[in-house]
């Protein structure tokens, strides 16, 4: 079984990002970048499937500028067999990424596609679902457990009320939640081995996809600073303030 894993290059989770002065975007100048943590979990799951003898090949794919090859190499250092970069300099939105991934799915015909449920930069939580629709594949999102069983995959999902298990026909799409696994550390010898693994680069045109934007970013601004609290004399005053000032109860 071939497994395709998507990885994204995002701002490192330790970085405290700042909005640009003109409010046009987050300031990414000289900011440390890293693999999206949810994608790291996706890679780990795919590699475990391979180690368990369920998967035969793990392919890591990323969409972005040349620099995202670093994240593909990280995935290969963690155990992916080869990599694919879809090279584009355009800031790509979830629908475009999903279309490009659909192109890769058509080329590679994986039985299972594993993605992070969201990336920590845009927090869109859309790509996996969109890919499911475009590729007409079953989807199990927010996975906390993935068990492949013959031509099905059982995915336990973290939902509001607790856990839900869905049984999907392969080929299928899984998006990972935080508690699916704890990713391993890539050892240095494996980092060096990853340098020699195959990494193919496609353009969107190679996949028959035109990169067009459907979204406009209106404004990026930092969250409002938290104001100091106030002390109330009694419960009546508290209720009054909640009703008339904060307007959170009526």
């Amino acid at each position: 079984m071939k497994v395709l894993v998507a990885v994204k290059r995002v701002v490192d989770y330790n970085v405290k990002v700042r909005a640009k002065a003109d409010g046009s975007d987050v300031d990414l100048n000289n900011v440390k970048m890293a693999i999206n943590p949810f994608c790291e979990i996706a890679v780990e799951e795919a590699v475990r499937l391979k180690e368990a003898g369920v998967a035969t090949e793990v392919i890591a794919v990323s969409v972005g500028e040349k620099s995202c090859q670093e994240q593909i190499r990280t995935a290969m250092a963690l155990g992916a067999d080869r990599g694919i970069q879809v090279e584009t300099d355009a800031g790509v939105e979830p629908l475009v990424v999903a279309k490009l991934l659909k192109g890769v799915v058509d080329k590679e015909q994986p039985q299972l596609v594993i993605l992070g449920k969201q990336s920590i930069d845009g927090d869109n939580n859309q790509t996996g679902q969109m890919l499911g629709a475009l590729a007409n594949m079953a989807q199990g999102t927010f996975a906390s457990e993935v068990v492949v069983d013959g031509d099905k995959v059982n995915v336990t999902r973290e939902v509001d009320g607790g856990l839900q298990t869905v049984s999907l026909n392969l080929p299928a799409i899984v998006t990972t939640d935080l508690r699916l696994n704890e990713p391993r550390y890539a050892s240095l010898p494996n980092i060096m081995k990853a340098k020699k693994k195959q990494l193919d680069v496609y353009s969107p045109a190679d996949l028959g996809v035109e990169v067009t934007s459907h979204l406009t970013q209106v404004k990026v601004e930092p969250p409002a600073e938290r104001k100091a609290g106030v002390k109330v004399a009694d419960v009546d005053e508290l209720i009054d303030k909640l009703k008339n000032e904060a307007k959170v109860i009526s």
Partner: protein, 380 residues
């Protein structure tokens, strides 16, 4: 963020160590400070990740990388705020085991290096004595060849990894008549060799999770083949590794200083005082900006010198400048950072207190600032 001196594999390595530090070191560091040493399990985990084989040959399990990988290791371990953990690892990787890698015979390397790379055998280097520090020529420990055995007598002090180490590289005089630094040889001494004892575990001002020992050698008999490199040429072997040792210590110093700044800025931005936060005060803003400028410039020099070392030429002047400057400014920065923590900075539970204590030894160990500047002056 691109840094012209590093390659993609260094960036990947950095991210992996970063995650390792956050998960495997930070939550437990305080307990290790308390017990006075780093547990062997942690060192084995580091070995599994390949962190102890960064620069060792691939045939012994290493990765054959250059000093830049060690710089990355030093910087990321230092971010843990536990200097004792950092130095335990760095002594093993860049101060002790390189003696074997540089001067050892194929047989010696085959015997010891795989265990060193795995982290099952931890190494220490024993040069300093009560009467000889930076002036290596003054050591008094003696080794005499008796048949096919060397007999070692003497003592060593301030030996990092000395209490819980397994393999010791010991400098001893083999020609007492030789002048200056000549007549010194290095020997491999294994823990448990009769006559070789740990006198005491030394209590320290900082680096509390690192074990430091005074060691005694009383008629310690080791096989002739445990001589490392050539007889009477040990000083040159010690010298060979100085530059790498100093680069990683500088990387550690600068990274710890950066961490101190990060902690302090976070702290002063939240600390309410005089109708605002401390961060609103010009005197604090200016001092922290000054500290950050020094640290950023020093970090750049760490990276440049790490790269310069890979270019094959002599870089003693640059390394000496780096070692002196980086370790000095680390202490300056720590002073201000501790000051801006107020009373809390004086409490042992605050990381800045530990960073402050840990930084004090940096201008002393691995080449004192004064000696370093003399090396610079000689080349001016």
């Amino acid at each position: 963020m691109s840094d012209p001196y590093f390659e993609e594999e260094h960036n990947i390595l950095r991210d992996q160590i970063k995650r390792f530090v956050a998960r495997e070191i930070v939550p437990y560091g305080e307990a290790w400070e308390e017990q006075g040493y780093v547990p062997r399990e942690l060192l084995k985990k580091m070995g599994e990740m390949g962190l102890f084989g960064l620069m060792h040959e691939e045939k012994y399990g290493g990765s054959g990388m250059d000093i830049r990988a060690a710089t990355v290791l030093a910087e990321e371990l230092a971010q843990s705020t536990f200097g004792g953990v950092t130095v335990t690892a760095l002594v093993h990787t860049n101060m002790a085991s390189p003696h074997l890698a540089l001067a050892g015979s194929a047989t010696q390397k085959e015997k010891y290096l795989p265990g060193i790379v795995e982290g099952s055998k931890i190494t220490a280097v024993c040069v300093t004595e009560p009467g000889a520090g930076s002036d290596v020529a003054g050591i008094r420990t003696r080794a005499v060849l008796d048949g096919n055995e060397w007999v070692i007598n003497g003592s060593k002090i301030f030996i990092t990894n000395g209490v819980y180490g397994d393999i010791y590289f010991v400098a001893a005089k083999t020609d007492p008549d030789a002048k200056g630094s000549r007549g010194i040889s290095i020997f491999i001494v294994e823990k448990g060799t009769p006559g070789f004892t740990v006198g005491r575990s030394l209590k320290k001002h900082g680096w509390k999770s690192s074990d430091t020992a005074e060691l005694f050698f009383e008629n310690v008999r080791i096989p002739a083949e445990n001589l490392l490199g050539e007889v009477n040429k040990g000083f040159y072997s010690i010298m060979k590794n100085f530059q790498h040792e100093r680069i990683v210590l500088s990387a550690m110093a600068v990274s710890e200083a950066q961490k101190a700044i990060d902690i302090t800025v976070e702290n002063v931005k939240n600390r309410k005082a005089f109708d605002g936060t401390l961060w609103d005060k010009g005197v604090i803003r200016e001092k922290m900006a000054r500290a950050q400028s020094k640290v950023s410039i020093a970090r750049n020099f760490v990276h440049y010198v790490s790269w310069l070392d890979t270019q094959g030429g002599d870089c003693i002047k640059e390394v000496s400048m780096l070692k002196a400057y980086a370790c000095d400014i680390a202490n300056e920065v720590m002073y201000d950072c501790m000051q801006f923590h107020g009373g809390m900075g004086f409490m042992s539970e605050s990381p800045i207190e530990r960073l402050y204590r840990d930084s004090r030894v940096l201008p002393v160990g691995g080449g004192a600032t004064e000696v370093m500047y003399e090396e610079v002056a000689k080349r001016m």
